[in-house]
């Protein structure tokens, strides 16, 4: 059984009727429970629960403090290639987009690594588009080997691989896999993934599980909010995380709640997702899964990110450039999307401290 079976169970679920029936009394009862079930989680995602955001925040804050303390792990993504064979309607790297393509040479990767390492960061996430020709598995593995010299934790956010390839990645020193389903709704998935290997919904859906089987230490998943009505996507992301955590208790599971950002290309069918919606999503998640990691990217604006710190976020990116070679080169490839929080690592560190939290640079090491 894979996660698809869970998805299918909810395929014809009448979300609207469920949300209609959620009462204030029920929300209060849920907030008094020690451990909530998936329907309680869905109730916390309901429109009704919007009137209880403060109560939810108090609970989520307390749970986060207990389990993670006042600490935020900092990391930065490093784009090493932006070649892509897919046509994803919402992405700037889409093969149809006429952007400057680039992939870093080993020397450029090293230069980029040195420049990032100078900021004090010890955790890094390698990103590429999907191009088995331009950036094959062997190329990524070589990049990881270079980065291991400068960083304690190397993660990958590249195209879906087989379990065997993930095992090779783990062997090379990768401990963190990020792979987003983008959208759980199968029909929308098919529509926005116009062509390319990414069209294969099942292969993508099972990717995090292949990473778990290959013994990745951390697996980060999530939906790209905006492609579908957010409550359903938030619910499926939570169910997916819960499924993985129950089945692979030795893997640290995290969720990111990215929202669609402006990018090169056009996609206008965006479902609106407000700041309030994101907050409700994060709070419900924390209450549903107290030990879940929550990663916040620089897609969100600075002030909004700052307010989310006490609400359960455990990891934040900082000093971000989504351009290939963006940290050290003048000859950069174009970025994947516009970032919203341009603050440097030093600035992020000071903001976290000023919020009464400790910025953590190193939380893992290869042994």
């Amino acid at each position: 059984m894979g996660f698809y079976d869970v998805y299918i169970n909810f395929k014809d679920f009448d979300y609207d009727a469920f949300f209609e029936n959620v009462t204030s009394t029920e929300i209060k009862r849920i907030l008094n429970k020690n451990k909530i079930n998936i329907y309680d989680f869905l109730a916390l995602l309901s429109p009704k629960a919007e009137s209880f955001l403060e109560e939810m925040a108090q609970k989520a804050h307390a749970l986060s403090l207990q389990h993670f303390g006042k600490t935020i792990l900092l990391f930065t993504p490093m784009y090493i290639g932006n070649f892509c064979v897919n046509r994803c309607a919402y992405c700037g790297f889409n093969v149809d987009n006429n952007i400057k393509r680039k992939k870093l040479s080993p020397e450029e990767i090293e230069r980029e690594a040195i420049s990032i390492a100078k900021t004090g960061l010890k955790h890094i996430l390698v990103l590429t588009g999907e191009s088995p020709n331009a950036t094959p598995v062997s190329y990524i593995i070589d990049a990881v080997k270079i980065l291991k010299k400068y960083f304690d934790s190397v993660g990958i956010e590249v195209y879906p691989l087989t379990q065997e390839d993930y095992e090779r990645m783990v062997e090379a020193g990768v401990d963190n896999l990020a792979v987003y389903q983008e959208v759980y709704d199968e029909k929308i998935y098919d529509r926005v993934h116009i062509s390319g290997p990414k069209k294969d919904y099942h292969f993508r859906l099972d990717t995090p599980e292949r990473g778990c089987k290959a013994k990745m230490r951390n697996v980060n998943i999530g939906a790209l909010l905006g492609l579908n009505e957010w409550r359903r996507e938030a619910f499926m992301s939570g169910l997916h995380a819960n499924y993985l955590q129950n089945k692979y208790p030795d893997v640290c599971i995290s969720i990111s709640p990215p929202r669609i950002r402006p990018h090169a290309g056009c996609f206008d069918e965006v479902h609106n997702v407000s700041d309030k919606n994101i907050v409700q999503y994060l709070l419900a998640l924390r209450i549903f899964m107290p030990y879940l990691g929550i990663t916040l990217s620089t897609r969100e604006r600075a002030s909004f990110r700052d307010h989310l710190i006490p609400l359960g976020v455990t990891k934040m990116s900082a000093g971000v450039s989504t351009e290939v070679g963006g940290h050290s080169s003048n000859d950069k490839g174009e970025g994947q999307f516009e970032i919203s929080d341009n603050r440097s690592v030093e600035e992020m560190k000071n903001v976290i401290l000023s919020k009464g939290y400790q910025p953590v640079f190193k939380d893992w090491m290869q042994i």
Binding site: L65, Q66, H67, F68, G69, K70, T71, G120, K122, D152, Q245, N246, P249, D250, V251, C252, I253, Y291, L353, G356, Y357, Q358, V360, F361, K362, D363, W364, M365, I367
Partner: protein, 258 residues
């Protein structure tokens, strides 16, 4: 004087503290001072020797015993490697074994912990294993060479108090090593409770680190541990399970007729 002896070292303070979860590392020296602790644990995975400012060890004085822990280890082999690394980094011979392969409740894996304890104690480490309070596992830890046993009061970070009280009491009665209650203690009164039960020491992290005033909270814990220990040594009045009637049924035996 009432001293706690572990690995040949005599300790006056029975409060061990953790260094994770603090709002800033800068506060740690003051917390250590106000807690009067002599044993401080830190996660090896967070130690960054290269970056001076980020290096947790810079904030823990050499006057206390460093107790590096193996948090992040998923099995015995990883725990052993982390322990050796800690020693190579200059953290000394003490090590707290933490093997956790369950990210839902963060419960320790006793079997793997026993394996790691056996290997490391043979290598001369003073091994303090964190465990689920189970008598048979504790006995095996004794055989494996542990210097103390650290049962959990409740899952890490839950601040729920000593939920495993009955089981810890059995360990205190049956195990001939110091029993240090680790995890779950959320309030000074609960630390006092552990000490009244006869625990040799307690380890506290979350309750101090996440309070609004960690320095004062550390002080409160220090006092509570002293109070609980003093009560234990003074032999608490025995609590009786059934009431004793003021006119006992066997009173006639003392009435001199026989």
């Amino acid at each position: 004087m009432d001293l706690l002896k572990i690995g040949g070292i005599e300790l006056k303070s029975r409060l061990f503290i953790g260094t994770g979860k603090f709002p800033s590392k800068k506060i740690i020296p003051d917390v250590i001072k106000s807690s009067e602790t002599q044993v401080v644990t830190m996660a090896v995975r967070r130690v960054d020797l290269e970056a001076k400012e980020e290096n947790i060890l810079e904030y823990i004085s050499k006057d206390v015993i460093w107790l590096p822990n193996t948090s992040g280890a998923r099995n015995a082999e990883e725990a052993v490697r982390i322990a050796r690394l800690a020693r190579a980094m200059g953290c000394g011979d003490w090590v707290k074994i933490e093997v956790i392969s369950d990210h839902k409740y963060l419960l320790p894996d006793n079997q793997e912990t026993i394996k790691a304890t056996e290997i490391l104690s043979k290598e001369g480490f003073v091994v303090l294993p964190y465990m689920s309070p189970d008598l048979m596992s504790a006995k095996r830890l004794v055989d494996a060479g542990a210097a103390a046993v650290m049962p959990l009061g409740a899952p890490i970070g839950t601040n729920r108090g000593i939920r495993t009280k009955e089981l810890i009491e059995i360990l205190i009665d049956e195990i001939d090593l110091p029993i240090i209650v680790d995890a779950g203690i959320g309030k000074p009164s609960e630390a006092a409770e552990a000490m009244e039960m006869g625990a040799a020491a307690v380890l506290v992290n979350t309750a101090i680190a996440t309070s609004d005033d960690p320095v004062n909270m550390a002080k409160a814990f220090s006092l509570a541990v002293i109070a609980g220990r003093t009560a234990y040594l003074s032999k608490l009045g025995a609590t009786k399970k059934c009431a004793i009637a003021s006119s006992p049924l066997t009173g006639f035996l003392n009435e001199g007729e026989f």
